[in-house]
Amino acid sequence: MKANGGMSRRQFISLAGATILGLGIVGCADNSATSSSDSGDAASSDSSSEATGKVYYLNFKPEVDEAWKALAKTYTEQTGVDVQIVTAASGTYEEKLTSEMPKSSAPTLFQISGYVGLENWKDYCLDLSDSDVYKELANPDLVLKDGDQIDAVGFVQENFGIVYNKALLTKAGYSESDITDFASLKKVADDIQARKDEIGVKGAFVSSGLDSSSSWRFTNHTANMPLALEFEEDGVTNPDTIKGTYLPNYKDIFDLYITDSTCDKAELSAKTADDAVSEFVNGEAVFYQNGDWGYKDIKSIGDENIGLLPLYIGAGDEAKQGPCSGTENYWAVNADASEEDQKATLDFLKWVVTSDEGTAAMADDMGFNCPFKSSKESDNPITKAATDMIKGGKKAVSWAFAVQPNQEYRDDLANALNKYAAGGSWDDVKTAFVDNWATEKAANK
């Protein structure tokens, strides 16, 4: 009992201490609550902050998170300006942005994926017409506009098409010049598929996994071709309804992917993006529809072995068709941020796209092919192949898929493709491709 008494005295002191701590927190919290409610609107409430602004960049790409952090550190060392880089976990950018925006320390710099995302965030976009980052753009069309206002500036130019393994294509007895349109692509692929054991591959194309890690290659990128061609023909950029004029071609290319493949159609739904990468890297397949962002994953087969073909689907002017070139990465500056923070952010962006450190980091560490005047050329072989194609007179295909209504639409399409691959009817794909466009566009309104 006595020993217990001693114990409880000590406990008493420590617990009392904790209580005081608790009260302390309460006190602090209370103060800040009153002060912030006094000053009203969140944007300019931080009266205690210094005159120099801060930068808070909510980054979209997890794979370049570290490179951004390193670059931010360099900038802070040089200028003393605080730059925070936060990356949303994969697939959570939109929700992260939604939950961060109302906060008092909201992102000053954020990303928009295209006109669909702009709908949601245009109220938060500062007009960038007079900004240096916009003036530095080599291609002034790579922006998101709302009327005359420049809402967002594209900062990466990405290309996709059909990536192929040069060594394996040679081994199969072909070269790039043998593939000039969809018909010849199909002929070569069919032949490789027929002689796969002799060539030592498992299939012409890597497995077209349809789970969410991989389905975007087909619902977004493959679908870009029929969409781009239809938009061009109809003279529209962001229609509320589509006709699906080139849907049969979409079927042709998708059939080719899943027929001349490393695995049986029925197994596709059990394949992931990682499976496709490992098949390509291990030399089990010749063709892999993907873009220059995937270079890091397939680097190990050697730069000299990586080639790029246009994404032929058997429509349009295939003799002149180049890679699909565009971006889903636009920078927008938060219009609600304080003026100091906006200025700090614009200064940071200018530094990123013009300074040696910035351009080098963007090109080498992040592997971006940037559209700015002083951007350093990336040594990514897929990007190089795409650039060469365009220099050689081919015409880049724009990223029409960027105006697909929303993620729901893409998920539905993936589902339909999956059912089709498992032996279902193409009509489901047609419904998901054409009818859902109108439904989901309306649901966004």
Partner: protein
């Protein structure tokens, strides 16, 4: 009675197998956390370690260094320890007061506490994160204030349930001896309530340590991550998941929990039981 024995033997064997199956998911993560990145894919998960796929501690090093594991672990630890300490001290005092004073105000407060226990977090996630941001409750220490408020329901309920069973005579005797209420509480009531402290402490620790959504929405994401938030960052862009480091990270999260559990098993289990019976 031979039949009884035979049944027991069969049951023993059955439960041994079932126990092994029960541990298997954790065992699988352990095995795979030592494999090389390229040898972990959807089909090879079941394979055991061998010379070809053994990667040593590389995944652990990767998880530790790259994603800020140590910082996240510390944040989780700070939040859990501080929140639970606050909850235990403040809520037990509050519960004692509420039961002993028992006026209209106390009854109303008690009702609200009980009500808060059943309200799902989704109901207030948006408004709470806004409020927390404006009040500056977005650091690992200050977030504990929210945990105190949000965890108060269960804690006050359980403490109050116990206080009701303590006869008031002892406290009154101490009061007559000249103790202040504070002294009565810490010298008399607190020692009697020790088992309840353990129960509440364990239940609240399990909740706070594993909580995902509240810190994800509330914490200043430019600076702080907790363990459950960190795990998500092993999924890269374009569907690529860094399974090796992710599993190493999972292991580093599970192992301390398992160790603590094995050491304090008796308390944890009795804590859970009394918590459930009262809840």
């Amino acid at each position: 009675m031979g039949k009884e024995k035979a049944t027991n033997r069969v049951l023993s064997i059955f439960f041994t197998i079932l126990s092994l199956a029960w541990i298997y998911p954790m065992f699988m993560i352990l095995v795979n956390s030592f494999k090389t990145e390229s040898s972990i894919n959807t089909t090879s998960v079941f394979e055991l370690l061998g010379a070809s796929n053994f990667n040593g501690l590389a995944n652990y090093v990767n998880a530790l260094t790259r994603q800020g594991f140590a910082a996240a672990f510390m944040n989780s630890l700070i939040i859990t320890v501080t929140s639970v300490a606050l909850i235990l001290v403040c809520c037990s005092m509050c519960a004692w007061y509420v039961v002993r004073v028992n006026n209209r105000f106390c009854k109303a407060v008690y009702f609200l506490f009980v009500f808060s226990m059943v309200v799902p977090f989704q109901m207030l996630m948006f408004t709470l994160s806004g409020l927390a941001d404006r009040m500056g409750l977005n650091t690992p220490l200050n977030i504990c204030f929210i945990y105190l408020g949000f965890g108060a329901g269960l804690a006050v309920f359980m403490f109050a349930g116990f206080v009701k069973t303590i006869p008031t005579e002892i406290e009154e005797a101490a009061m007559i001896d000249g103790c202040s209420p504070l002294q009565v509480f810490f010298h008399v009531v607190l020692p009697i309530m020790k088992p309840t402290y353990i129960s509440v402490g364990i239940l609240e620790t399990m909740w706070v340590w594993n909580d995902y959504l509240l810190p994800y929405l509330v914490l200043d994401s430019t600076k702080y991550k907790t363990i459950p938030i960190l795990i998500q960052y092993f999924r890269g862009g374009f569907g690529h998941v860094e399974l090796g480091p992710m599993m190493a990270c999972i292991m580093m999260v599970i192992v301390p929990i398992v160790v603590v559990y094995l050491v304090c098993q008796r308390y944890i289990i009795s804590g859970v039981v009394s918590g459930a019976v009262k809840g």
